[in-house]
Symmetry: C2
Subunit: 235 residues, 2 copies
């Protein structure tokens, strides 16, 4: 067990060093994101900042695109965790209150991490195409919103609006994919509200609200309550 012990501690130390260096690389890369943008993220600059040589980074990330993917997943996870935490803190509240709590957590995270928000919800990075591995992290906020609406539906607190005939096929397809237990008109409204939420956040973050909306917090709060109404959530 002596050998096992030393082997374990040795392996543990190596693994610890590896995760630490991986974290340092991502941290330096996030600094690059803020300074130069995702399009100009460069492995050499990251290595320089860490006092390493560029080829050494390839032990941790097989390519620049893999580093970008890791940053994207981290950003989605950080946003998702913030939203889940806000949702958990409002666990006993009404669906409408939980909805606004999640939306405000999204906005708060975006204002606190503007460059990471731009990475995941801004313009695509030229030449980069996100792999499917980003999907679970990207889905976290959406799943929260679905869960809130599902609870409201089970409590009989939902009122939907009729769908046009041309949309019924697609609405049923989305419903089967996302939330088979909810009515199609609710799922359709929910997907739209999900996109519209990020429209509000993006306009504030990217400067479109400059000289238009000044006092943004009450504006946003009211807008997401109206969004919830559109999905059928009543107070």
């Amino acid at each position: 067990m002596n050998t096992a012990n030393t082997a374990n501690t040795a392996k543990g130390a190596r693994a610890r060093a590896r995760t630490e260096i991986t974290a340092a690389i991502k941290e330096a890369a996030r600094g690059q994101l803020a300074a130069e943008g995702a399009a100009k993220l460069s492995l050499r600059a990251v290595a320089r900042e860490l006092g390493m040589v560029s080829s050494a980074l390839y032990r941790y990330f097989p390519s620049r695109d893999d580093l970008l993917t890791a940053l994207i997943i981290d950003a989605y996870d950080s946003l998702g965790a913030a939203a889940e935490q806000a949702h958990h803190a409002a666990a006993d509240a009404t669906p409408l209150e939980r909805w606004t709590a999640v939306c405000e957590a999204v906005r708060g995270w975006a204002l606190a991490h503007p460059h990471e928000y731009a990475l995941i919800y801004g313009s695509p990075v030229p030449g980069y195409s996100a792999p499917q591995t980003t999907v679970p992290a990207a889905a976290r906020v959406g799943l929260l919103l679905i869960g809130i609406v599902r609870d409201a539906h089970e409590q009989g607190r939902l009122t939907g609006h009729a769908l046009p005939a041309e949309l019924s096929r697609e609405a049923e397809r989305m419903t089967a994919d996302l939330a088979p237990d909810l009515p199609p008109e609710i799922v359709t409204a929910l997907v739209a509200a999900w996109a519209q939420l990020y429209g509000l956040v993006g306009f504030e973050l990217f400067g479109q609200f400059n000289r238009v909306v000044e006092d943004r917090e009450p504006f946003f709060r009211h807008a997401v309550v109206r969004l919830a109404h559109g999905v059928g959530l009543e107070p």
Copy 2:
């Protein structure tokens, strides 16, 4: 008058050449936008593509940022013209039909010009800050939407929702700025709907709807009708 004549034609030819070359520069720059993104837009590459020398471009655009600004204004103007044309074609229709016509024109233009859309509504370009000269072009779509809602209001076709007290000051400020003849609750809803419209378009364009919304046109159409309802427009 001989001298005046030659002077005039010379000046006319020179001015014509200048606008032609300016247009060619912007055209090549738009190609760069699509290939490398706005962050990597470089005067040298544009010059290379045109067979010019980089220093020659400075006769047309004093800096890279000025070229960017010109591209941004052109994009806003192109989008605004497309929206205005769609609105004009629906001049005799109901406000709700004009609303959806403008929204669909925005989406159509975005799908046809994804890189220019990313330039104006995507992540900000690092190190670039848009000057106030972009504001009039950027406002065109918003002014259209305000006009449609104003017409509906004058026809008595608008129903608003009460505002929370915390928002009344900001709502009155926005109303004074944007449309003093409309009720504050309508102006507030309109600004929110404006941002939400671009949330829908951006999600489709930037891939967030991949594997989520497949048949996007009826989805979008229904979503903007619901947006209009949120502003108070009834059919």
